[in-house]
Homo-oligomer: 405 residues x 2
């Protein structure tokens, strides 16, 4: 008998009809001879509505109370889902994060899971029942309710799968898997049947929205196979698994893009040890999430440092930099929110030189100017003008022949 963890996102349980459809799928999975643990998000946009309510009531909603508030959403969806499963003749029991034994640190709003106890879940499964667990939440070591932040329900599902030794963690969503590019931009984009953890990490980090980055990290660290699939069509989706070294890798698995970040450049800072450290320490203390960082070789003892930040953090970042700029002997700060990042990702890149060159040629042929470049062993990212992003993605997708791979 296999143990399967199934996670359903907000759109999968957005209304009573969807909840009954999901219940039907859970019951079929169980009747096929599996033990089933379900992780569920809040219905549709209900978390957004609770956030709005909090801001209607308070200018600065308190972190502990915000978590208490937001966890009401999963409580509602999981109780309704259990009722629907029970109606179909299979017993189901709902568990809050606390009841499921999901112990976190005490950082409200983005707590980290420290431990998954799961005793009540195991006992529920052994009685032939389905366990339905609230995603996105846990109980802190101080016995307070916490939430895990963005992508929290995916993380709950993967953590439970790891702790319970599940055969697979199925992530049900409103798209049918991981694609070679965003199908809204590239209509011929193809669904990947398999992708490695490393590739999925790069995809999630560079604009692929299907899986939250931290849940992929967790899955990789614990070797949990993840199957991303649709709760609307129920067709097989994309498996995220260990790289299989015995098989030849596709050179490029996909093209991603991200328009959520802005580019910042601090010009001609002193090129001496500790300068970059001072800058990024100051930004970190202001809770600015810095992503890509590029520093060029120095000319005449000074160098430019460029980096990207979420557009929401741009104002804060500029404030910090204005303050620290004299200390760094900079000649000025420039920024551009009208940029996008285009990335090509593929494990086969490691053994196939020339991918970067080809990417730059394709962009040049399209007349797309490259503003920043950064690479990892399986990814090349270019920052380009936001107006060029669709054309860049389409050209790269075609040039690497992704529609036919």
């Amino acid at each position: 008998m296999a143990l399967i963890v199934q996670k359903f996102g907000g759109s999968s349980v957005a209304d009573p009809d969807r909840i009954r459809a999901v219940a039907d799928h859970i019951v079929r999975t169980q009747r096929a001879g599996n033990q089933v643990v379900v992780v569920v998000s809040a219905m549709g946009k209900s978390t957004d509505n609770l956030v709005r309510l909090a801001h209607d009531v308070s200018h600065h909603p308190h972190g502990r109370e915000m978590d208490m508030l937001l966890t009401a959403g999963e409580r509602i969806s999981m109780a309704l889902l259990c009722m629907a499963v029970i109606d179909l003749g299979v017993h189901a029991v709902s568990f809050t994060g606390s009841q499921a034994g999901i112990v976190t640190d005490t950082v409200h709003g983005k707590a980290k899971i420290l431990e998954v106890k799961g005793d009540r879940i195991r006992s529920t499964l052994s009685q032939g029942s389905v366990a339905v667990v609230a995603g996105f939440q846990g109980i802190s070591t101080a016995k307070d309710i916490t939430t895990l932040g963005r992508g929290g329900s995916d993380t709950t599902a993967v953590a439970l799968a790891a702790s319970l030794g599940a055969e697979v963690c199925e992530i049900y969503t409103d798209v049918s898997g991981v694609f070679t590019a965003d199908p809204r931009i590239v209509p011929e984009a193809r669904k990947l049947s398999h992708v490695s953890f490393e590739e999925m990490l790069e995809i999630a980090a560079t604009g692929g929205k299907v899986l939250a980055l931290r849940s992929v990290e967790f899955a990789r660290n614990h070797g949990v196979p993840v199957h991303v699939r649709s709760s609307f069509t129920w067709e097989p989706g994309t498996w995220v698994v260990e790289e299989d070294p015995s098989m030849e890798q596709a050179i490029i698995s996909g093209v991603t893009h991200d328009t959520s970040e802005a580019k910042v450049t601090i010009a001609q800072v002193a090129d001496r040890p500790g300068v970059a450290a001072s800058l990024f320490r100051a930004l970190a203390e202001a809770a600015v999430n810095v992503d890509m960082i590029v520093q060029n070789v120095s000319t005449a003892g000074h160098t430019d440092i460029s980096f990207t930040v979420p557009k929401d953090d741009l104002h804060r970042a500029l404030g910090v930099m204005e303050k620290i700029s004299p200390e760094l002997e900079s000649t000025g700060i420039t920024h551009d929110a009208d940029v996008a990042r285009v990335s090509v990702i593929g494990a086969g890149m490691r053994t196939n030189p020339g991918v970067a060159a080809k990417m730059f040629e394709v962009l040049a042929d399209e007349g797309v100017n490259i503003e920043m470049i950064s690479t990892s062993s399986i990814r090349i990212s270019c920052v380009v003008s936001a107006g060029d992003v669709d054309r860049a993605v389409q050209a790269l997708h075609a040039a690497f022949d992704l529609q036919n791979a």
Copy 2:
């Protein structure tokens, strides 16, 4: 320093403006030198909405999951209320029923409180913070979430007040206290400044909706003074306290009415031991809530038994009675849903004979026919035709001079 428990009902926290107004009152109470424990219901009609959602999803919502679902309502209101209090500069901490240590039996939907631990609340108060507790909910001895049923938040408040040794339990609602009659029927009805536990029990049992019966029972059993007042005007309301034997009692404190019940009569049942027991055991097993019961003296070895039941239970009651009727040798069952119960209540009745006679005379003068009579030491109730109820209440209120007492 006094410890005050303040309970706010759904209408008191129906929207962000109301929540801020309640927060302001809590902060004033604390700054006046008191320790404050707050019990809060779900916002406005949100519990009704959750019940509707459950019935949209399931034909027979499972009891455990229904409780899990419904407790989301208080979670939302208490978190928002804490945020609003914190905004005003006083720290506040919310607690679920489970976190507050409200331990109940395992009867989902109408659990009984077995124990109030309250350690976290005491520790919160000792740190100078306000404790905000979810009403209506607890955790069962089997570690499952339970709800306390109708009037549950009042019961939570009184139980906490008893356990913590509070000076008073203030019940804030959308009316300004307990009145001598329903002001919608008797415009000159007067707010009572004090009423005894016993009178309040009779008022709650006979149609007064201000306080739930079980919370009054709990308050009486534990000697918790209750102050029922308005969260809209904040004016002093009605104190529900121990009867003060040193003072002369008003003969009548109020006139109540109740149109929620139907009358049922089973005619000419055998007048032998065990007949009534068989009947009411069968009704109890069908979960029919029987209220008033009247049995007259027997003629020729047979007697009529009449009783009232909630209109919602009438169909079920009739089914049970059809089945048991032959065994009881009854000649027939009649019922009337078009009835109302009118009651006069007053502790002074004990020492003032003639109240019943006066009540019957007043009704006779109004041409109101009395269909059933039942009494306690401080109450006389008559079942009359529903069409007569307003006239009956008005005439009794005037005859006992309640507007001037």
